[in-house]
Amino acid sequence: MSHLSLRPLDLTALVETVTAPDRGGVVTFVGTVRDHHHGRQVTSLSYSAYEPMAESVCGTIRAEAERRWPVRVAVVHRLGDLEIGDAAVAIAVASAHRDEAFAACRYVIEEIKRRVPIWKRERFTDGTEEWVDPRREPGSHVVTVNQS
């Protein structure tokens, strides 16, 4: 199964790949494109990836979650050009009970952000573009770059 998609994400189809009669809890997470970043207005963005490694790492994260909790996990990340509100990443987790499904879903999104080689280039209303560097985000655990 591919974890990367150039086409709009279909959450319903993703959920159908993990549901089963004995899995009564389904948790989904959808990350969408925000219209602002550090107070600047974002108009659109594009995602690119080191595709073979991104595929492999997504598969590893999914397997880790399925080993740690009694769940089935599906995850897909969008690549290419996206507009505000488009789904960038979608995760569906099904389990017999909700606690495991919530925990596994949280694990998968955090590990994707931390480990999958994907990059984001944002376009702003003033016409400029910028690669997003999460290390410079407010609240980041990594020392921020001194920009003075």
Binding site: A54, K113, D133, P134
Partner: protein, 84 residues
């Protein structure tokens, strides 16, 4: 003299823009570690802005500065990740 396969270096996102290309081949016989590959890479025009200790993957697996590199390996230099 038998020819030695080059080390294939992949650059992404901002790093590809700094160097002006996303793929290059470096001579495979003199680059035994990730550290040596990065040192050679950073000599190229534009590449000095790539950190001395970037995220790196060798043949799709995350690697450290002392990880071995062999002729024919694929060494990917990864800017700060921003997926999700």
């Amino acid at each position: 003299m038998p020819s030695v396969a080059p080390v294939r270096v992949l650059l992404f996102a901002r790093y590809a823009e700094l160097v002006g290309r996303d793929t290059l081949e470096l001579p495979g016989e003199s680059l035994p570690t990730v550290r040596a590959v990065i040192a050679r890479l950073r000599e190229l025009p534009g590449a000095s802005a790539i950190p001395e200790v970037p995220l790196v993957a060798v043949n799709l697996r995350q690697a450290g500065l002392d990880s071995p590199v062999a002729p024919g390996d694929e060494v990917a230099i990864l800017p700060p990740l921003a997926g999700g």
